[in-house]
């Protein structure tokens, strides 16, 4: 999946409540064990209404190799250069392929559109040799010129692509994107011949190949785009099912907004012989509860998440359906440092220190880990040394120093969060901690996800719930978002020492020295607290046993090419 993936509605797991007796949750197996007649009745109602005797979608899918999965929300767009969300990333993985693809187990780069590549000794020049049978779904070959035109498109300022800065690693790309240089021939992208592409980097990067699997690096069929409008501007409707041309293992068959998106196996894909699924059906589902019921009724192979309250029961009654995977992601709060009272770092710090994260984890279930820093521990060998400790006395002292002893005089703070039950639990717990420990009043404002995104973009918030999922296995994927020029910063905070440390880290090859610079950046971030880290994720979801090849991966990428169904 691509860059900033603000995870809409991932669910935090909830641990079992050891104090009370087992209650049936997989109703068919457990009805007899239900203790309360009321629960029994309700469960029975829920279950039997959704369970006729005929073949379920899952059973039919197992026979026909059709995977049914849900997405947390409806896909906004299918243009790989414009999408940002996690649901779009799932679909992108089926429709488009970049120069390299991912190994399904460890996500290591494996040949994709390029059958092999050479790296120069200084790590700056990558030469990709495209395969002869790389084809678009309309039958035309995928050439090096396609990649050049695609990278030129995403870097064109008029497209205003959110993740254009992911390509800044290419020599001269930043200057071109910011308009300082209008000649694309100065950017380190060139087609040596139709099957040879050369990329020149600004600085060596060990993670460069891993970067290439993200959607901004995937090619788009410029010729097709030009048929339906201008390719370098937004609003081009080339992604409609009857128009779209893709180069991945699947092609788009049907897209009914808010209902279903169907992709089918592509006949022109170079590795089609290895693709075992005939189709994937994506269902956008806002409600975790509805999703869980659909899963139980045999409508889904894989869910996006699990309602917090139901995890304990699944663990107890049907552990074979529940998956708890590691996940490189952090839940945190963004503070608007441009708006009172969070212009004062002492107040930001006081809010961060008054949170008892260990207690909070109990309310959120046992699956997540308290976050005292931003980058998750042991990200490619890096564990942040700086920490925000819980210290209520110090937090009160800081607030007093800022002139608001016991919270007196501090205006009501608004905490913006997207509509989601699992987020509300966290928000209510934080609200109470701040009230009890600092005496400040925080008002919870829940809004539609799109509304919160708009508020974030316009800076119209004081405090908002956020999350960040790593795009590649390197601490830079986290720390880079709070650089002063980052499109994902949104806190109004910038610090030249922080930017300088990251700039230097990107150009440092020695791993120890590089980690040192990253530690320095993280320490600066946690000292200024434009964000309050809350916890590190795990990905909890439901999966039918028939789904094969769905390996636990840190980035939650599961190339559909390697997935199959088996009874």
């Amino acid at each position: 999946m691509t860059a900033a993936r603000e995870l809409a509605r991932r669910f935090r797991p909830r641990s079992g409540n050891p104090g009370h007796p087992p209650r049936g949750r997989q109703p068919r197996a457990a009805v007899s064990r239900l203790l309360s007649p009321v629960t029994c009745l309700l469960s029975a109602l829920l279950f039997f209404t959704g369970c006729p005797q005929r073949e379920t979608a899952v059973q039919r899918g197992n026979r026909d190799q059709i995977l049914h999965r849900s997405l947390g929300y409806d896909v906004v767009d299918l243009d790989p250069h414009l999408v940002t969300g996690i649901a779009e990333g799932e679909v992108m993985r089926a429709l488009f392929e970049g120069l390299v693809a991912e190994d399904p187990e460890n996500l290591h780069p494996v040949p994709g559109m390029a059958e092999r590549w050479d790296v120069s000794a200084d790590g700056l020049v990558y030469t990709f040799h495209l395969r002869a049978d790389a084809k678009w779904s309309n039958g035309t070959p995928v050439t090096a010129a396609d990649f050049v035109a695609s990278y030129r498109r995403i870097l064109t300022p008029s497209l205003a692509a959110d993740y254009a800065n992911m390509l800044y690693i290419l020599q001269g790309a930043e200057a071109y994107h910011k308009g300082a240089n209008k000649d694309f021939s100065h950017v380190g992208v060139s087609a040596v011949d139709p099957r040879t592409l050369r990329l020149v980097l600004e600085h060596p990067a060990s993670y460069f190949l891993a970067l290439l699997v993200n959607p901004p690096w995937r090619p788009v069929p410029i010729a097709v785009l030009e048929q339906h409008g201008r390719s370098d501007q937004r609003g081009n409707a080339w992604t409609r099912p009857e128009r779209i041309v893709t180069n991945g293992p699947f092609v788009l068959k049907k897209w009914t907004p808010n209902q279903v998106m169907i992709v089918e196996k592509s006949a022109t894909y170079w590795d089609a012989a290895k693709v075992r699924l005939k189709a994937v059906h994506f269902y956008p589902m806002d409600s975790r509860d509805a999703e869980e019921r659909a899963f139980r009724a045999g409508q889904l192979h894989i869910t996006d998440a699990v309602p917090v309250a139901k995890i304990a029961a699944y663990r107890r009654d049907s552990p074979h359906l529940l998956r708890i995977d590691p996940y490189l992601a952090t839940e945190f709060l963004r503070l608007n440092t441009q708006r009172a009272p969070f212009t004062d770092p002492r107040i930001r710090r006081a809010f961060a220190m008054a949170i008892d994260r260990e207690s909070l984890m109990k309310a959120l279930g046992g699956q997540v880990k308290p976050a005292h820093a931003f980058t998750p521990p042991d990200t490619a060998g890096y564990t942040p040394a700086a920490r925000i400790e819980t210290n209520v006395a110090a937090a009160r002292a800081l607030l007093k120093e800022a002139g608001y002893e016991g919270g007196r005089g501090l205006p009501v703070i608004e905490f913006l969060y997207p509509n989601s039950e699992n987020v509300r639990v966290m928000a209510e717990a934080l609200q109470e901690m701040w009230r009890r420990e600092l005496g400040v009043e925080v008002r919870l404002i829940n809004q539609d996800l799109k509304v919160t995104f708009a508020a974030r973009r316009s800076g119209d918030f004081q405090m908002m719930r956020s999350n960040w999922i790593g795009d590649y296995l390197d601490p830079a994927t986290f720390l880079d978002i709070f650089r002063g020029d980052s499109g994902n910063n949104y806190t109004g905070w910038s610090n030249s020492s922080y930017d300088a440390a990251l700039f230097a880290a990107a150009r440092t090859i020695d791993p120890a020295a590089r980690r040192e610079l990253l530690q320095k950046a993280e320490a600066l971030l946690l000292e200024a607290v434009p964000i309050i880290p809350i916890y590190y994720y795990t990905h909890v979801f439901l999966k039918q046993p028939s789904v094969q090849g769905w390996h636990p991966t840190l980035l939650d990428h599961h190339p559909y090419k390697h997935v199959w169904l088996e009874n």
Partner: protein, 301 residues
């Protein structure tokens, strides 16, 4: 100390056996008392209202006090109705929620009552073009889907709990206006109104002093039926996240929360659901009883 009765008391004693008349209200009260369901409803409502008013003062817990280490546990000696997932005492949240729900029910009904009665009485009394215009306006407002109308109001005016009362009241008066209008049209043709007219009384005096008291029965009855409707609407709005905001609770919020977790923590749904249903049933029983007691003609139908 004197044993001599005062002249006034003497007169009362003498008068009593001669003229023991009962007012219409007293008759209605006697009829109501015979209706067991209505009496049950009155008692249940009284107990719930008193508990919601006084209970929170007695409870050792506050509605926002969390105990994250405790989490959700079932009913016990410490927490009679159990706790929610944040370790908050369900009983005290239920009582606080009752305050909100009952307050919304009463005040929104008051708003609906005021607007509806005045509007309906004016339309019914004047009749003609003015009536046609006023009632077509009501028809148009009827055709707007209520919840969406309230949601629009909430979006425009923000999430203020007072505004929630007003918003709900502003959409609940339509039926009241229709009922009052039809009653006024029937009553205004009666002889005692003719008498009032011929005595030269003003229109305002006729409407409010002569007509309204005579149609009080249907108004009271409909009012008791509006309260549960309003409480349901509040529950519905809170269910959608548009009603009261956390950490405050209302019955709607509690039921929503309980519905999500019922398979794991049954008490979170059962207790709020029971109290809410009990209140609605009681109000409906009372409303039915009042209709039978006040409007004898319709009760025979």
């Amino acid at each position: 100390m004197s044993n001599a009765p005062s002249p006034a008391a003497l007169a009362a004693v003498v008068a009593e056996p001669l003229e023991k008349g009962t007012s219409l209200w007293h008759d209605a009260w006697l009829r109501l008392r015979k209706n067991r369901l209505a009496v049950f409803g009155m008692w249940a409502l009284g107990i719930i209202a008193v508990a919601c008013l006084l209970g929170p003062f007695v409870s050792p817990y506050g509605y926002e006090d969390q105990n994250l280490d405790l989490g959700a546990v079932g009913p016990s000696g410490k927490h009679w109705l159990g706790t929610d997932t944040l370790g908050r005492d369900l009983l005290v949240r239920l009582l606080y929620g009752g305050r909100v729900s009952i307050a919304v029910g009463l005040s929104a009904t008051l708003v609906a009552l005021t607007i509806g009665v005045v509007y309906g009485a004016v339309a019914g009394f004047f009749g003609g073009k003015r009536d046609a215009f006023m009632m077509r306006t009501v028809d148009i407002m009827y055709s707007l889907p209520f919840p969406i109308f309230v949601i629009l109001l909430m979006v425009f005016f923000g999430r203020n709990i007072i505004l929630l009362f007003v918003a709900i009241g502003a959409v609940e008066w339509l039926t009241m206006a229709r009922i009052v209008r039809s009653q006024v049209m029937a009553v205004k043709k009666m002889e005692f109104i003719e008498a009032a007219r011929s005595l030269g009384f003003g229109r305002r005096r006729i409407i409010f002093r002569h007509i309204l008291p005579n149609i009080l029965g249907p108004i009271i009855v409909y009012t008791t039926l509006t309260i549960p409707a309003v409480m349901l609407l509040e529950a519905f709005l809170s269910f959608l996240g548009l009603g009261v905001q956390p950490p405050m609770s209302s019955w709607g919020v509690l039921i929503k929360d309980g519905a999500e977790k019922m398979e794991e923590f049954w008490w979170l749904l059962v207790f709020p659901g029971t109290i809410f249903s009990l209140t609605l049933f009681s109000l409906n029983f009372l409303g039915d009883g009042l209709r039978d007691a006040l409007d004898v003609r319709s009760s025979k139908d």
